[in-house]
């Protein structure tokens, strides 16, 4: 039986896997890929909530799902994720041109 909790647990699992990659990988491109997994997990949660409340009403009787807010937020998250990927990869390529590494342990130009 698939209910809202199934999608929430799937989102939590994917978010945790992506967070592990973002915290523990050394390659900057791999960290960016892990962040994309985290953003996808959040998107799945958003769309699952939007689908769960379509046609339902809250305590006062206002239809909570009529605005599809979760799906709208998913569109904005995808937009921001695309912008973030473009800028982050440009920064990584710029760093590689300058100091010939993408290892985040060796990129310490701004470390005090």
């Amino acid at each position: 039986m698939v209910n809202l909790n199934s999608f929430l647990i799937l989102g939590a699992l994917m978010f945790a896997i992506g967070l592990f990659g973002a915290l523990s990988k050394r390659n900057a491109v791999a960290i960016l890929m892990s962040i994309e997994i985290m953003l996808n997990a959040v998107n799945i949660t958003m769309v699952a909530f939007a689908s769960a409340f379509i046609g339902k009403s809250d305590a006062v009787g206002i239809p909570v799902g009529s605005r599809l807010t979760g799906q709208i937020f998913a569109v904005f998250i995808i937009t921001v994720a695309a912008a973030e990927a473009a800028v982050a990869l440009a920064i990584i390529i710029g760093i590689y041109r300058r100091i010939s590494t993408v290892d985040v342990g060796e990129i310490n130009l701004m470390k005090w």
């Binding site: 209910n3 592990f20 050394r26 339902k56 994720a81």
Partner: protein, 179 residues
């Protein structure tokens, strides 16, 4: 009925999603990890179709499986000398990161399982079949919500998002350009 078609498809896609996500994080070869990432994006689009969010699914395929995957593969190609260097792909404190992630995941799952909201909606379930009758994810409704200047809509955040994309494109070109 515990095993209708939607459940089987959901568990299949969820298995692929979690497995491919683990492959992205754990694989040593970064090109293989990037290809697993494309599989993650495709399976996530399957989840959106299952939730009757067809517009989101198409956008996911176009932007993530199309653009972001190509972008990631290009950046791997341009930084190839560093990416294939020997040594562990993980930092020294990977066990601490793993501990944080396990605690976070357990906390979120516990909260989702015990919250009042989940209890009230669990009996009704997501209604994979009933939601389609409401015409929930249709592009017409999403378009009205994004652009409509008369009704309640998100037209101002939409315009801000377009400015954000413009700034991101210009910034990426300026940063990555050769001197």
């Amino acid at each position: 009925m515990p095993f209708d078609l939607a459940s089987i498809v959901f568990y299949l896609i969820a298995f692929v999603l979690v497995g491919a996500s683990l492959a992205v994080v754990l694989m040593r070869n970064i090109v293989h990890a990037a290809l697993s990432l494309a599989l993650v994006f495709g399976a996530a689009a399957g989840v959106y179709v299952l939730l009757n969010a067809e517009f989101i699914a198409i956008v996911q395929i176009l932007i993530y499986a199309g653009a972001v995957t190509v972008l990631v593969l290009f950046s791997i190609m341009l930084t190839q000398g560093a990416a294939t260097r020997a040594g562990s792909p993980f930092s020294g404190q990977w066990w601490l990161a793993g501990l944080i992630c396990v605690v976070l995941c357990a906390g979120v799952i516990y909260a989702a399982a015990s919250s009042q909201l989940a209890l009230t909606t669990a009996s009704g379930s997501v209604n994979l079949a009933a939601a389609s009758a409401q015409d929930g994810g249709s592009p017409v409704k999403i378009g009205q919500l994004l652009y409509s200047p008369f009704n309640y809509s998100y037209v101002l955040p939409f315009e801000i998002a377009s400015v954000l994309l413009l700034v991101a494109i210009v910034g990426a070109i300026v940063i990555a350009r050769e001197e």
